[in-house]
Symmetry: none
Subunit: 216 residues, 2 copies
């Protein structure tokens, strides 16, 4: 079985990199490449005998989200896997809404990319674990999708996120300390730092802000 693939990316260098990654696999055939959505659409009009499109998101003229929507509208049989450098919630959610069948990051290694294509053809969704986690959070907390207009940079450390997670369950300093095997003092310090980063002054505010930013 031959896998007919197209690549859409405005960066020729990255197109080349993807091609190279797939060159290891004999059953993958790159049918064509495009530099943006509208170029792809033109090509599809001539030939839409394709299995999968690997689609970048950030592109001029017609971006990956819009393109996905249009391709899926016209050619629902073609699978579309987003292959992008960015994994922010908005992109992920919009891509899914547009009908993407998978979402991978460009840093992916050849084997995983190939497996992703296979899985997609077998009726699954290709997704790297960090993306998968984001979709889970989006499902758990659908409100976070809308409120992301005000997206300031918030960077909590791994430990801080853990503490925040526990906070969100309504646990007290002492219980959190037990759970994470920490001194209560440390937990309190973490919370102090979390408050400063989120610019809040109570558990509830912290939890709400974190949820709106899809941190927890």
């Amino acid at each position: 079985m031959n896998l007919k693939v197209a690549i859409v990316d405005d960066n020729t260098f990255l197109i080349h990199a993807i091609k190279e990654k797939l060159s290891f696999f004999e059953d993958v055939a790159i049918k064509h490449t495009s530099l943006n959505g509208s170029e792809l659409l033109t090509q599809l009009e001539n030939n839409h005998n394709l299995d999968v499109i690997l689609m970048d998101i950030e592109m001029p003229v017609l971006d990956g989200i819009e393109t996905t929507q249009m391709v899926k509208q016209k050619y629902p049989h073609i699978k579309i896997v987003m292959l992008t450098a960015f994994d922010n919630d908005e992109n992920i959610f919009n891509a899914i809404k547009a009908g993407a069948d998978g979402y991978l990051l460009k840093e992916i290694n050849p084997e995983d990319l190939y497996n992703g294509l296979q899985e997609t053809m077998n009726g699954g969704a290709a997704m790297n674990p960090s993306i998968a986690l984001k979709t889970l959070k989006l499902l758990r907390n659908p409100d976070s999708i809308k409120n992301q207009a005000d997206k300031e940079e918030i960077s909590l450390s791994k430990r801080e996120v853990e503490v925040l997670e526990q906070l969100s369950k309504g646990l007290s300093y002492t219980v959190i300390a037990e759970n994470l095997i920490l001194s209560p003092s440390t937990v309190r310090k973490h919370i102090e730092n979390i408050y400063k980063k989120l610019q809040v002054h109570s558990k509830i505010e912290a939890v709400q802000k974190a949820k709106n930013h899809n941190i927890i």
Copy 2:
């Protein structure tokens, strides 16, 4: 680094199969196994120094969904990966809502299971592609998700709802009293009654329960 794992499954044969699959990997330690959720909870009370729980769904006494919710409530630091034979939408969605960090099928091979555990520990979500696709669909079509959260009837008075609304903004007793032109004592009494009705013991829990029941 050693991975501390627990297995919960009502089928001893399947527990054995999972153990065998993980036996190939030296850095995985099966800390304990349980035949149902309540057995697990008992074990956790003695020792909750665990990384991941592999959880079946269909179990007597306390099923995997309920157990996941309870474990996550008490020990948010423990990752929970569903490992079940069934992959219907309802199970998947409920598991995610309950706080599952991943969802795998029992037919999984040893390598993938091990990778799933690793990914989970690295802050990703373990998920096989067919499950991933279902989560995408759920995200695309949130209406397909039925609101089964409100089983019990909760009747708060109008005033109690007002107080709860203020609570949800993270306001303190004193500020709420000012806002509603009440004595702080009264506000506290209202909150006390709200807690009793909702069967919770903190602001955050009250707000979360209220939200799950569409009260606020």
